[in-house]
């Protein structure tokens, strides 16, 4: 319906917090690009199970392969990297984050901002539900032959976090992770430093949750999926546990408070969303290579995402978890156990159900990722269950993370339009 698929205009509307966020993310790439001069040691890790507060205790700089893949996807350079990885024998169905990372490495390891990505001194493998993480760092370890710390976080298959699970993770932190970091960095672990970092985390998390929950307003002042991806940037990566993150979320919160006061909708690249017609909950990661085009499909229809599970992969803070300086290691363990990727299907379903109800959403949209079985397995079952429990319509689209070959704009647009019209039809029928 509406306009044909057109290339978005080149004028992108951004708000102040987005510029601040970009500067922060870029600054970490600057830091990574400068390790030859600074002499800083480098730690690679993933977003879910990211132990940034701990890593900072050893004066190390963090590199996040997933973030590199995402940034390369947004900059439309991931396609070439993926094909490079395929040339090296990685098959078409492998996670495209992995292939973008391996491809980037094979092409000289120049990061998204054009600066070199240094080799790791340590690979911090926090296993939080995604089996691919293991294989990914196995590949990197093979190439870099560096120290690897493995933190095995038990999967919450029964939907509960028990004391023994926490103890098990804490034991590994004490006996495996911290000693290895001390060895690689040459810095002695200081628990008070960790406590300070955790205190910063908790402050930022309070404001972050406030931001996410601002979507309960009507109209929602934020888009919790496309916009949410910018909001999670600092807290899911190198800035959680810093005063910079505290400052960023305060700025963001002030900005959103102002928007609520003025009754404004989210700022999108096409401009402010003026007419909120649909309130949607999303499950699954977005597509990064055509993210603006994808977002525009929502913007054109007046669809706002009011809650998303993807913005919980690096922590489910809106369900009450906070980093706690008084229980530093236990708190890190709980954080890892709580990540969305580590949750079982009934818990994920419950989360979606609560979002639909608490955010007064019109329905659920699942963006199923071709190369991410970790996310995609069970999504249809979850969808049916959420439909049944909430009575709200759901729809299913399929794209990929950072492989541009798997974003078929006409198909996605067709399904989205059908979905929004289906919601309309149900409203008119009083269903």
């Amino acid at each position: 319906m509406s306009a044909p698929i057109r290339k978005p205009s080149t004028d992108v509307q951004k708000d102040a917090s987005m510029a601040k966020q970009k500067a922060m993310i870029d600054s970490n790439f600057d830091r990574l690009g400068n390790v030859k001069n600074s002499g800083e040691k480098v730690s690679y890790t993933f977003v879910p199970g990211n132990l940034n507060e701990l890593v900072m205790c050893f004066d190390m700089v963090g590199n996040y392969p997933e973030i590199n893949a995402i940034q390369n996807g947004l900059r439309k350079t991931s396609g070439g990297m993926i094909m490079e990885a395929e040339k090296w024998g990685h098959s078409e169905d492998v996670c495209t984050y992995v292939k973008a990372d391996i491809g980037m490495m094979r092409k000289g390891n120049i990061g998204p901002t054009g600066q070199p990505i240094p080799e790791p001194d340590i690979l911090m493998l926090s296993y939080t539900g995604c089996y691919t993480f293991l294989k990914w760092f196995e590949l990197l370890r093979h190439d870099y032959k560096c120290e690897t710390a493995m933190l095995h976080v038990p999967y919450t298959g029964d939907g509960v976090i028990t004391k023994s699970m926490i103890d098990y993770v804490v034991k590994q932190l004490k006996e495996e992770v911290i000693p290895k970091y001390e060895k690689v960095s040459g810095v002695k672990f200081d628990i008070d430093r960790l406590r300070q970092n955790l205190a910063y985390s908790a402050q930022a998390e309070d404001d972050f949750v406030w931001v996410l929950e601002s979507a309960k307003n009507k109209p929602s002042p934020i888009d919790a999926y496309f916009g949410g991806i910018y909001y999670i940037g600092p807290i899911f990566t190198a800035f959680r546990g810093t005063d910079l993150a505290v400052d960023y979320y305060k700025t963001l919160r002030t900005e959103i408070e102002e928007r609520i006061r003025k009754g404004q909708g989210p700022i999108t690249p096409e401009g402010e969303m003026k007419n909120e017609k649909y309130r949607i909950v999303t499950e699954g990661p977005p597509n990064y290579t055509s993210m603006r085009e994808f977002w525009k499909m929502f913007y054109d229809e007046g669809a706002v995402v009011v809650a998303s599970t993807y913005t919980k992969v690096g922590g489910t803070y809106d369900f009450g978890f906070r980093h706690d300086p008084s229980r530093p290691l236990e708190s890190l363990a709980e954080y890892c156990l709580n990540c969305y990727t580590n949750r079982n299907l009934p818990e994920r379903t419950r989360m979606l159900e609560s979002y639909i109800n608490n955010y007064e959403a019109d329905g659920l949209l699942i963006n199923s990722i071709k190369s991410c079985n970790s996310f995609a397995a069970g999504e249809l079952m979850m969808m049916r269950e959420v439909e049944k429990r909430t009575g709200k319509p759901a729809a299913f689209v399929e794209t990929d993370l950072v492989d541009p070959r798997y974003f078929s704009a006409a198909n996605v647009k067709n399904r989205l339009e059908s979905y929004f019209q289906m919601i309309d039809q149900k409203r008119r029928a009083g269903v």
């Binding site: 044909p4 319509p393 798997y406 198909n411 059908s418 019209q421 029928a429």
Partner: protein
């Protein structure tokens, strides 16, 4: 009179349905989608409006004493004669266009001969049109390009050879001209074509015992009714190209769901297999869509799959089903990829498998893909309505019946002979509601 029109722009064909205020279908039209959706939409709409005139005429002829019980025969004969008039009009247009396209420098040396060749070919085509549209004659397609194209190529090859010029000249002007003609909806006077057709009919069918004057009045009255395009709703993949504002455009999911509900009000699950996509739609008792799933990422298992197989086997699309029905054991085709299925087909032929058994296997394979999409949308609830171009294929229907029974037990399966119009029908009802229930 008020006309509510639904237009469904498909990847292969474009369909239009006209509905009146009483929610009755009064006209249907179909054309090939070409690469030009604007024209396809205009032609399909024009065809549906012509069909509407026939409906009006049918009403005018109710109780006509002269026709007695021959009303249906008369109307079918009139439509056939009208179609011939339309065909000849397009032939004239094609000839004029060919001659204009033969004016370029490259034809300087052969122009006079080429003009003669073209004149000869078109004379023959006009002459053949009598047999083509004779009583009881069947045509392989209703579309001008399909009917005229094949014969033009055969005749111009023969005539060029006889005239001593290279066949490529005729071929070249034809290729340029057919696209122009196809993208130009027939523009001739409608009333003249009706009346010329009627005159021809009365001459060719004296057994009906009617004269031109006997039915001239009801025909003229049917043509005189002003058909107001009250509201048009567009759907299908090309809908973004329709020159309508946004509120005139609906997704084909909604249109197919509603269209199927209108055909069979107890429908709960709809399967539509079109040219490029397969849709499974769950609707409630009011035809409101509850859920839907479509083919993922590729068009394997869609109508185009059969088109590709027909091309591979050098057969017409409509021949596939009847041949597959002769099968005694379906060969298992594993590939879900359209192109790989072609390779598998050649492999099976090489292994000595029978053509009909392979085709039966291919039909089963397309339906297996559809079954997976149905399952993803929530399975089949009674009643189940099958729509789209593939619903006309008897072998596909047979495979569907077997697999539905196997997986869901006894379910009422509805297949309407006009199921290809389901999306357009839903669109026309949306158009009617937009005005009458606003």
């Amino acid at each position: 009179m008020k006309c509510f029109i639904g237009i469904d722009l498909g990847s292969t064909t474009t369909k239009a349905v006209v509905m009146n205020e009483e929610r009755e279908i009064i006209g249907r039209g179909i054309t090939n989608s070409r690469s030009n959706y604007d024209t396809a939409s205009a032609v399909a709409k024009q065809e549906a409006m012509i069909d509407t005139r026939f409906t009006l005429l049918r009403n005018n002829l109710d109780g006509n004493e002269k026709l007695r019980n021959n009303q249906d025969v008369f109307l079918n004969d009139l439509e056939r004669n009208f179609r011939r008039e339309q065909f000849v009009e397009q032939l004239d247009d094609l000839q004029t266009t060919c001659l204009r396209n033969a004016e370029g420098d490259r034809f300087d040396d052969v122009r006079s001969t080429l003009t003669e060749v073209l004149a000869g070919v078109f004379d023959k085509l006009r002459h053949e049109s009598l047999a083509l549209y004779a009583k009881g004659a069947t045509r392989k397609s209703d579309f001008f390009r399909d009917i005229a194209g094949g014969r033009f190529l055969t005749l111009s090859e023969e005539t060029s050879r006889e005239a001593g010029i290279n066949y490529d000249f005729a071929l070249n002007v034809y290729d340029k001209s057919i696209i122009e003609v196809e993208n130009r909806p027939p523009a001739g006077n409608l009333e003249k074509k009706f009346l010329d057709g009627l005159r021809h009919l009365t001459e060719e069918s004296p057994e009906l015992g009617i004269t031109f004057e006997d039915v001239q009045d009801p025909v003229t009255r049917a043509l005189a009714v002003e058909l107001e395009e009250t509201f048009v709703v567009g759907t299908g993949y090309g809908r973004v190209r329709l020159p309508f504002p946004k509120e005139h455009i609906r997704s084909e999911i909604l249109c197919h769901g509603l269209g199927a509900h209108m055909m069979y009000p107890r429908t709960r699950t709809v399967l539509d297999i079109g040219g490029q996509d397969t849709k499974s739609i769950q609707v409630d008792r009011n035809g409101v869509v509850d859920n839907f799933q479509m083919n993922d990422r590729c068009a394997a298992g869609c109508g185009r799959y059969l088109g590709y197989i027909a091309d591979e086997m050098n057969m017409g699309l409509h021949e596939l089903g009847p041949i597959a029905m002769k099968s005694t054991k379906a060969v298992k085709i594993n590939s879900t990829c359209t192109v790989f299925a072609g390779a598998e087909l050649r492999d099976r032929l090489a292994l000595g498998e029978k053509r009909e058994d392979i085709l039966a296997g291919l039909h089963r394979s397309i339906i297996l893909r559809a079954m997976s999409i149905i399952a993803r949308s929530g399975g089949i609830s009674d009643q189940f309505t099958f729509t789209g171009g593939v619903a006309k294929n008897e072998a596909a229907v047979k495979a569907l019946r077997e697999l539905v029974k196997e997986n869901y037990g006894d379910v009422t399966i509805n297949i309407d002979p006009d199921s290809i119009y389901t999306g357009a029908l839903g669109g026309s009802e949306f158009a009617r509601r937009a005005v009458m229930e606003a």
